[in-house]
């Protein structure tokens, strides 16, 4: 049985389902936070949340506005330093991280630094790495939740802020990044995407209900493969929607963005 839902709700549900119980996730505010909170209330009560400013295993009463505000360590087990969080990631203890960017390329590399070819005089100056480059270098699985269009999904980034698979198979390891880590899934308003085991290029895993492969390809600025058999994304269940709307985001900060 399915109910009416918007694209943001679907994206959050897709992200939440990927987070396994008993795992750890270094997350940011917004969609990642909503996904982790939903996962904890559905199938993953033992999912541990960490925030890069120092919050460890908070019991979130409401969504933080900043990864460093007091909500990010509400009823936490520890309020520590950023270095302590990053070093925990680097030791190999953190399973998932959620990252975003203005641009993503076929290998899952991200740009959050600038738009326009001239670094010294960019067309748009963006925030920079923040903790993204560190988290993508240290955590096991990188998830990206983003709107799907040709301006974001580009063949070549204006600036490679944060490492995905870099130039393809073996490139992360050759650069000195830890073996076995890297991009995992990209969840958009059109599809769930992953990476080809051999080429490390992005490919479509499932299409959201009512979305065609042609539509996804038209919204992507690079050649996009398909993982067979191509599935249709499970729509949000009434239970997921109820928790999302009543408990996780009652003020519709995130789910109202659609």
């Amino acid at each position: 049985m399915s109910a009416a839902y918007n694209a943001m709700e679907l994206m959050i549900c897709c992200a939440a389902r990927l987070l396994e119980d008993g795992r750890t996730a270094a997350i940011g505010t917004g969609v990642p936070c909503a996904a982790a909170m939903l996962a904890q209330r559905m199938h993953a009560p033992h999912l541990v949340i960490l925030f890069e400013a120092g919050g460890v295993a908070p019991q979130l009463p409401t969504m933080p506005i900043s990864v460093g505000d007091s909500r990010s360590f509400h009823r936490a087990v520890m309020a520590t330093s950023m270095a302590d969080i990053m070093e925990t990631c680097r030791r190999g203890l953190i399973d998932y991280t959620f990252l975003g960017g203005a641009q993503i390329d076929p290998y899952g590399n991200l740009n959050s630094t600038c738009i326009g070819g001239d670094y010294a005089r960019p067309k748009v100056r963006l925030p920079g790495s923040g903790g993204a480059n560190d988290l993508a270098s240290f955590c096991w699985r990188i998830l990206v939740v983003t709107h799907h269009d040709r301006r974001r999904f580009v063949e070549k980034l204006d600036f490679l802020t944060t490492p995905g698979y870099l130039t393809g198979p073996g490139a992360r390891e050759a650069a000195g990044l830890p073996p076995g880590s890297g991009p995992y899934r990209v969840i958009t308003d059109l599809a769930v995407l992953g990476y080809n085991d051999e080429t490390k290029r992005m490919e479509v895993y499932s299409l959201h209900p009512g979305v065609s492969l042609a539509q996804v390809r038209a919204a992507t600025g690079f050649e996009l493969g398909v993982r067979e058999p191509l599935a249709v994304t499970e729509p949000p269940t009434p239970a997921e929607l109820l928790l999302l709307r009543e408990e996780v985001d009652p003020h519709r900060y995130v789910i109202g963005r659609c």
Binding site: I65, M82, F138
Partner: protein
């Protein structure tokens, strides 16, 4: 150790541990009363051309009063550690491109311009996109690690961030092969700011400080900075510190000035005290869209204002702060 790759970004502060030791050799160590106004602290300890850093996390536990005073006193050509900088960076940018000279000359960037989910600062964008501020790229962890190296008194620390990216190319880090394992590691140089400002919950008159909640990079920043201005929510007696020394986060000998500034992180959040004033931060972002409107806004909230108390009085005064206290403790949700 052979250098395998060297980032092309400029280094904005001297990583020499010996020169830093020379500076610290002359730093006063006595238990002396350091209580003063923010205006006096900025006059004495923040100089034109200094490398400046501030504590907290952008809109959480930030030394807002010091940033306002830097603007009011018209400090020029500062270099800045853009580490998780949001409202703090927005404030420093207000000294550029508005006919007040040039407050910011160079930035080490980990995170600037954005205010997380609130969006990008239009004026900070103008300032950086004009090309008048020189930039070097880092990450939140590598900048924190540069403070840690300085705090440890070592010239660099190894890290596995930055590898394979343009962030590395625009940093001043270098890649070497580890002499023990052969693996590639990035070396990031120690960062000793000339002056830092950190807002804390409680301090005594000598500068012994207590912080509640996450410490971000502040324990290392306090020890790395050559001069340190502390603003605190409350001055407490030295005897309180001595009753429970395990709670001291920053010892007095790191500190040059202690300024009691209640609500000193406003409009930012102060854990266990008050939540951020999201409405006022939205007003900032909105005023910045138009240069003339922003000029008027800055007159009203910074340049015509005598001190920090007058600032929050202009922002709704005690009733507003009470509301933010209720939000911090979730009392507004009926808890």
């Amino acid at each position: 150790m052979d250098i395998l790759f060297q980032g092309g970004g400029a280094l904005w502060a001297d990583p020499s541990t010996d020169r830093a030791r020379r500076f610290f050799a002359d730093k006063p160590r006595a238990l002396i009363d350091k209580v003063m106004t923010v205006a006096e602290a900025v006059r004495r300890f923040v100089h034109d051309g200094d490398y400046f850093a501030c504590g907290g996390f952008g809109c959480a536990r930030i030394p807002t009063a010091v940033l306002h005073e830097i603007l009011r006193q018209g400090r020029q050509h500062l270099r800045f550690a853009g580490h998780t900088a949001t409202h703090d960076f927005q404030l420093l940018c207000a000294g550029n491109g508005l006919g007040q000279g040039q407050t910011l000359a160079a930035v080490d960037i980990a995170y600037v311009v954005g205010l997380e989910a609130r969006g990008l600062s239009p004026h900070a964008r103008r300032v950086l996109e004009s090309g008048e501020v020189a930039c070097t790229e880092w990450t939140n962890y590598t900048l924190a690690l540069r403070f840690k190296a300085a705090a440890m008194g070592v010239p660099f620390l190894p890290v596995h961030s930055l590898l394979g990216t343009d962030t590395l190319r625009h940093s001043a880090a270098c890649v070497v092969a580890c002499p023990f394992t052969g693996e590639k590691v990035v070396l990031v140089p120690a960062l000793y700011p000339d002056v830092a400002a950190i807002h804390v919950h409680e301090a005594d008159r000598y500068g012994n400080c207590r912080i509640r909640g996450t410490t971000v990079a502040d324990l290392d920043l306090a020890r790395a900075a050559k001069r340190l201005i502390i603003t605190c929510e409350r001055l407490i007696p030295n005897d309180d510190i001595r009753q429970d020394p395990s709670r001291t986060a920053i010892p007095f000998f790191c500190v040059d000035a202690v300024c009691e500034v209640p609500y000193g992180s406003y409009p930012g959040n102060m854990p266990y005290e008050y939540f951020s004033d999201e409405e006022h931060i939205r007003q900032w972002l909105s005023a910045e869209k138009d240069i003339e409107e922003f000029r008027t806004f800055l007159q009203k909230y910074i340049f015509e204002v005598r001190d920090f108390t007058e600032y929050w009085q202009r922002c709704g005064g005690l009733p507003r702060l009470q509301e933010l206290r209720r939000q911090e403790f979730l009392l507004h949700r009926g808890l």
